[in-house]
């Protein structure tokens, strides 16, 4: 069980807040969505995110307890505004 690096996609206002369209976070093996959020929170600008941003794993909405593994596509999803 090795630590892993996961890429987190950012969009719209979240990309503005963190100053980038994606970032890479280090996670322990067996990590969850909640761990991803904790890692993101340590980045400058993250204080401008809401308390519990939505997260998608592999293009599906995920809960904080959802597991995240190497190779997963993780994204933070700002409040949507389609239509």
């Amino acid at each position: 069980m090795h630590p892993m690096s996961v890429t987190v996609l950012l969009f719209a206002s979240y990309a503005d807040a963190l100053g980038a369209p994606s970032l890479s976070v280090e996670l322990p093996a067996g990590a969850t969505v909640a761990d991803v959020l904790s890692a993101v929170r340590r980045r400058p600008g993250a204080e401008r995110l809401p308390p519990r941003p939505l997260v998608a794993v592999n293009q599906r909405y995920a809960s904080p307890a959802s597991p995240v593994g190497p190779g997963d596509e993780v994204a933070l999803i700002p409040p949507v505004a389609g239509g």
Binding site: F11, S13, A17, L49, Y61, V80, A81, G83
Partner: protein, 155 residues
């Protein structure tokens, strides 16, 4: 049978959407267009910039077409969302539904737009007459920006 979601950058073509769902078995066709309007929350709007998590947005649009079509027995349902910079009067979304009877067509059309606004990862930044821009969310109409005091996520 045509149940499909699309993400496009070219202008939405109403005639194309109508043709996509037109079949001799269908007696009712309903086309919804969501259009950029000149006012939102009392502010003068000059245009809207749409962006998306494209792969997921496409997947969600397709899922909505399949789910709504399945649950209401609607076989012909096309959802098209446009991305990029849109001016006033331009359509950001087009939903065409056809069915033998009108009741199902109305119900399906309405359900699609509500689901789309609730869950498809698409974002818009409004451009205002005073030159400013702002990210805007659907839900309660509250700001989707990240300034201090931003509200909780809608879902």
């Amino acid at each position: 049978m045509t149940r499909v979601g699309r993400i496009v950058t070219a202008p939405i073509d109403p005639a194309r959407l109508l043709a996509d769902v037109s079949r001799p078995a269908n007696g009712a066709i309903l086309l919804f267009l969501g259009v950029v309007r000149d006012t939102n929350d009392g502010r003068g709007v000059t245009g809207i910039e749409y962006s998306a998590y494209e792969a997921m947005a496409l997947r969600e649009l397709q899922a909505i077409a399949d789910e709504v079509g399945e649950s209401l027995g609607v076989d012909d349902l096309v959802i098209e969302h446009r991305l990029g910079e849109l001016g006033l009067l331009e359509a950001s979304v087009g939903i065409a539904v056809a069915h033998p009877h009108r009741g199902e067509a109305y119900d399906a059309s309405r359900r699609v737009i509500e689901e789309l606004k609730r869950r498809v990862p698409i974002w818009k930044r409004e451009h205002y007459v005073d030159g400013t821009r702002q990210w805007v969310a659907n839900a309660s109409g509250s700001s989707a920006g990240v300034a201090p005091g931003v509200g909780p996520v809608a879902r």
